[in-house]
């Protein structure tokens, strides 16, 4: 295997593992809330039956609704996990950049400890024909860079817009003085996608410019 495909394949596996760890973290939180709430419900009923506390149907209803809400939250987590898992199904296809970004931000919140991510997405984003898995991977690296380089307010703005026939993803609120993107693998991913990653130290932003159609197939074998 040539050096670049080998790096892309190894990075892809590592990326898949990182995202799975983040998803399992989200699901553990959902299960922890369901576990505590259901156990609390059970104990409240037991205490009421023993005459140790007054019946409080409204509180029981609030707790049972909380369980339903967490089941819905869990379904959303699994929906995003499913969308991510299927990003590898067809190597190159048309995607909505806003939808891709929406899923990636939800899956990446886990990595943003200490930072606030403010997402500003159009209902329908620019459509590009690309390799969705590599694009997800590039977004992940760029977002991690933005998280590390966040300014004193620790708030990162994320926007998606059309541009030059393709699309652009902008991460703002950075306080970096680095003018080049400090990740070799991100550079390899950007090259494979025909995308550009640009740091603007003047406005404190980093952006990914995605072409309407990636230039060619990526050979991994």
């Amino acid at each position: 295997m040539k050096e670049t495909p080998k790096k892309l394949a190894a990075e892809g596996l590592a990326f898949f593992g990182r995202m799975n760890a983040a998803i399992s973290h989200d699901m553990r939180n959902v299960l922890a809330i369901i576990n505590e709430t259901a156990s609390l419900l059970d104990e409240l009923v037991e205490l009421q039956q023993a005459g140790q506390i007054e019946p409080n149907p409204e509180k029981l209803r609030t707790l049972s609704r909380r369980i339903v809400q967490q089941v819905e939250r869990g379904q959303n987590v699994i929906g995003n996990m499913n969308a991510f898992a299927h990003s590898i199904d067809v190597p190159v296809r048309e995607v909505d950049l806003a939808r891709v970004m929406s899923v990636m931000v939800v899956l990446s919140r886990h990595f943003a400890t200490g930072r606030t991510l403010n997402l500003s997405l159009p209902d329908e984003g620019p459509r590009v024909t690309t390799h969705p898995f590599f694009l997800n991977n590039l977004i992940h690296h760029t977002l991690n860079f933005a998280i590390t380089a966040a300014g004193p307010e620790k708030k990162i703005g994320i926007a998606v817009k059309a541009g030059d026939g393709g699309g652009e993803i902008v991460f703002s609120g950075l306080a970096t003085t680095e003018k080049t993107f400090p990740s070799e693998i991100a550079g390899i991913l950007a090259t494979a996608l025909g995308a550009g990653v640009y740091v603007d130290t003047g406005v404190g932003a980093i952006s990914i410019v995605v072409p309407a159609r990636m230039p060619g197939e990526v050979e991994l074998g």
């Binding site: 760890a21 399992s24 973290h25 989200d26 553990r28 939180n29 299960l31 922890a32 809330i33 369901i34 576990n35 505590e36 709430t37 156990s39 609390l40 104990e43 205490l47 707790l63 909380r66 967490q70 886990h110 943003a112 400890t113 200490g114 930072r115 606030t116 620790k154």
Partner: protein, 117 residues
């Protein structure tokens, strides 16, 4: 015994505090590290149970700041991650490290063990 629970999942931490109260554990709760620091300025806590991953101030940094304010305070970490790295940090920085979802009996056992009760 006074315990401070800190986790950004309000539904989790509030239910846990109420369940602990049924077992005679006096527990306050906060949903951010910043709120926890304010509470610790006004109240003496024997032990804090901290979520490792939180927006804003995370559990590891929060532990350092709480320890600076109250050198005798003990700590237990909670995490939904379960990675080897979390385990390593949790073991080094706190008395115990517990993974979510919790068994409340395990938490109470660890609280008593940490406070030598």
């Amino acid at each position: 015994m006074k315990v401070l629970l800190v986790d950004d999942e309000k539904e989790f931490v509030s239910a846990l505090a109420e369940r602990l109260s049924f077992r005679s554990v006096d527990a306050d709760w906060a949903v951010s590290g910043e709120a926890a620091l304010k509470m610790a300025e006004e109240t003496h806590y024997d032990l804090a149970v901290l979520d490792v991953k939180m927006p804003g101030l995370g559990g590891i940094e929060l532990r350092k700041q709480l320890h600076g304010m109250h050198p005798h305070m003990k700590f237990i970490f909670l995490t939904g991650h379960g990675s080897q790295e979390d385990f390593k940090v949790g073991s080094e920085e706190a008395a115990f490290y517990l993974a979510k979802p919790l068994k409340i009996e395990d938490l109470i056992h660890k609280i008593k063990e940490t406070l030598n009760l």
